[in-house]
């Protein structure tokens, strides 16, 4: 039997309530999202049960589906890890969509035009993709530390510049556009990467098959999680994010560390583009990024900036992407598929966003 101090029972209730709040929020959030989705699907003349079954079949039922889900998860996770690094430094990079496509374009240029053994060119393509993404994020970093331009605005605007830049490149035969074939109108895309440059795949469709990019994603996640938790760099980064003034007083060089975090974040997005390019798409196209940058950012938000939590969250988003594509092939209109998956994404993101808002509104003493 344990002895309790007067008032201790009351004090214990708060943490229990607090612990229950998050699962409850998720339950309510998903219940509302599913109810709305069911209503929309039913109004559209389809069965919600069939839709959910198709989502499951497309993402988790069988080797091919699971492989597809992990393939979809891989770039989301890499983008999310980058977003987490910059967010931990208190810098909000929201330009991953642009950094990803610029990275992929650089990777395509290296993969197509640099001579050498396939494995080496492939590795260089990935490295080049990461560097290009970092460089693209470097522009807002310079603007912020040199001229005080808001990082959120600058990184966002750079997305549109990136889209136009890549669209320009894949529409010019002297840049990245595919090789002309007699009598054919060229499409806005590059040639396919040579086979030797591509990331190897395990297994073969329609059996279980998987791009090896997931190894890169897990390695990046592991390293970042370790460094953030145990490394001196991670400690300084967190300190900078939590209290920039105290960090500066403690000798942290904000421009170098914060700017570096932004570069790493862009580099991760660029690497994600490189992995998509060499792991599955094999050529750069104007619509290449396909919202992976935005969704990777959401993964970081839902994971509340914890690298290891980002793994299952990215997997959930991967399930939605893989399952959504399969659902569309069952005859459910594409727009309805987009609405259903968006509702589920919102359900996943809402509790995290709500918690963040609550944290900001809470008085400093409580925090």
């Amino acid at each position: 039997m344990t002895l309790t101090r007067p008032g201790a029972r009351h004090a214990d209730r708060a943490p229990v309530r607090s612990r229950l709040r998050t699962p409850l929020l998720y339950a309510v959030s998903f219940a509302v999202a599913l109810a709305l989705a069911a209503a929309l699907v039913t109004v559209g003349g389809h069965s919600m049960a069939d839709a959910l079954l198709a989502l499951y079949q497309g993402s988790l039922d069988g080797g091919a589906s699971i492989g597809q889900t992990i393939d979809e998860t891989t770039p989301l996770l890499i983008v999310a890890i980058g977003a987490i690094v910059s967010a931990r430094a208190g810098i909000f990079n929201i330009g991953q969509e642009g950094q990803l496509i610029v990275g992929a374009a650089a990777g395509a240029a290296i993969g197509l035009f640099v001579p050498g053994p396939g494995w080496l060119v492939g590795a260089l393509a990935l490295l080049g993709a990461a560097l290009a993404g970092a460089l693209w994020a470097g522009i807002p970093a310079v603007l912020y530390y040199w001229r005080g331009v808001d990082v959120v605005v600058a990184t966002l605007l750079m997305v549109f510049v990136a889209m136009q830049l890549v669209s320009f490149a894949v529409n010019r035969d002297y840049l990245l556009q595919e090789t002309a074939v007699e009598g054919q109108i060229l499409s806005p895309q590059s040639d396919l990467l040579p086979e030797g440059v591509r990331l190897p795949r395990l297994g073969e469709y329609p059996d279980f098959n998987l791009g090896t990019g997931f190894v890169i994603a897990l390695a990046v996640t592991g390293v970042v999680a370790y460094l953030l938790r145990h490394g001196k760099w991670g400690f300084r980064l967190r300190m900078l994010g939590l209290n920039p003034v105290a960090a500066r007083r403690a000798g942290v060089r904000a421009a170098a560390l914060g700017g570096g975090a932004l570069l790493l974040s862009g580099g991760a997005a660029g690497l994600a583009g490189g992995v998509m390019l060499t792991g599955g798409v094999y050529r750069i196209q104007a619509g290449f990024a396909d919202n992976v940058g935005w969704e990777g950012l959401l993964v970081a938000l839902v994971a509340r900036n914890h690298p290891l939590v980002a793994i299952p969250v990215a997997l959930f988003f991967g399930v939605l992407r893989a399952g959504g594509g399969f659902l569309a092939s069952t005859g459910v209109p594409r727009y309805l598929v987009s609405v259903v998956t968006a509702l589920l994404v919102l359900a996943a993101a809402f509790p995290a966003a709500y918690a963040e808002l609550r944290k900001r509104r809470r008085p400093a003493v409580e925090a």
Binding site: A54, Q57, G58, D61, G62, G63, A64, S65, I66, G67, Q68, I70, S167, N171, V181, G183, Q184, I185, L186, S187, P188, Q189, Y205, P206, D207, F208, L210, L218, R229, M276, V281, R283, Q285, A286, G287, F288, D290, H306, L308, V309, I311, P312, L315, G325, F326, A328, S329, T330, G331, P333, R334
Partner: protein, 355 residues
């Protein structure tokens, strides 16, 4: 952070998932079909013998655009309904996702996959895979896709359709005593640039000093940008506009109707439309080509590995039709198309030498 609990969960969940993955070989709803027996090469259409005929359609554009891409689905639906088949359209497809979507359709055991545009041609890489074995493939190739044994395609020539469209626009300009026309399209893609070139060449065959004002809005479906482009062109004095667009076509034409400026359709026959009025229907609708392929499919005569070329002046489509012709306007355009068909008019030379 409570590291051990969360990390343990993650490190247990991920390998478990992978092990599950290794153990599963089935591909979902329809089963994997890996190494399954090849469906009948002849005697279409229920090639996989599942008791129903399903046509999967992959489109890069909006299949509710009231124009080019919608015609692809609408015409397929007409043939499908007459035969009791099912049509499953997937629209607004990202080219980077084309292979995955093709695989998804194969897993749904469709009998024929129609690829709406050559930009989605990467989908064809799924054709030799076991899961897609026996599935018939149709490509609306336009300018053409490198032919393989796995698919059949329809081809037409942008120079023919757009030269004839330009010729019709030239006649409208001549009738109005004007020399300026507008051309509004989406992204600055090769086919859109080639279309503008051919359109201008046709226009100048009637009005030698005709000027074509070209605007690339960057988006075939963005009505706001397209309307803005039209207003800018109107201010420069255009008397004919060609909205070579997708979902934004009607928005521009309605503005043109209000301004008394003639408009041409980008692919479909809209002469009967009473709300949005077109002066000329330029018909190169992919639906017409696809419907013909589906008729062959129904008869069991659709052959993979072949291409059908649709020629102006020879086939019923592509063609150009004045909605309310004045004088000999229709006769003159008919003669131009006939000359293209017989080879009397070398349209490629006419377009290439235009500038």
């Amino acid at each position: 952070m409570k590291f051990p609990a969360r990390a343990a969960l993650v490190f247990l969940a991920a390998p478990a998932l992978l092990l599950t993955a290794c153990g599963g070989g089935n591909g979902g709803a329809g089963g994997s079909g890996s190494g399954s027996a090849a469906p009948k090469a002849t005697g279409q259409p229920d090639v996989n013998g599942d008791g129903k005929v399903v046509i999967g359609i992959m489109s890069p554009g909006d299949t509710r655009d009231n124009g080019y891409y919608q015609s692809f689905v609408d015409d397929a639906n007409k043939v499908a309904q007459a035969n009791g088949w099912e049509v499953r359209p997937i629209d607004k497809l990202n080219p980077a996702d084309a292979v995955n979507q093709a695989r998804n359709l194969c897993r749904q055991r469709v009998d024929l996959i129609a690829v709406g545009a050559s930009v989605l041609a990467d989908a064809l890489t799924a054709a030799p895979e076991p899961q897609c074995k026996g599935v018939n493939w149709y490509v609306n190739g336009g300018g053409g896709v490198e032919q393989t044994e796995y698919f059949t395609q329809s081809k037409d020539t942008v120079n023919q359709s757009l030269y004839a469209a330009g010729y019709a626009a030239g006649q409208l300009l001549k009738q109005a005593g004007a020399s300026k026309a507008g051309y509004i399209t989406g992204p600055e893609l090769d086919f859109a640039k080639q279309a503008a070139k051919a359109f201008q060449a046709g226009m100048r065959a009637v009005v030698p000093n005709a000027e074509l004002i070209t605007t690339y809005t960057g988006d075939f479906d963005d009505s706001a940008k397209a309307k803005e482009a039209f207003e800018a062109q109107k201010a420069q004095g255009i008397k004919v506009v060609y909205p070579y667009l997708g979902g934004a076509t009607d928005a521009v034409t309605q503005q043109a109707n209000a301004a008394g400026i003639s408009a041409l359709t980008p692919g479909t026959d809209r002469c009967a439309d009473t709300t949005t009025k077109y002066a000329v229907s330029v018909i190169f609708s992919p639906g017409a080509y696809f419907a013909a392929a589906l008729e062959d499919f129904g008869k069991g005569t659709l052959k993979m590995g072949t291409a059908r070329i649709w020629t102006m002046g020879v086939d019923p489509v592509p063609t150009v039709k004045f909605c309310s012709p004045e004088g000999d306007q229709q006769d003159r355009i008919d003669q131009v198309m006939k000359d293209m068909g017989t080879g009397k008019l070398d349209v490629d030379a006419a377009v290439d030498g235009a500038r």
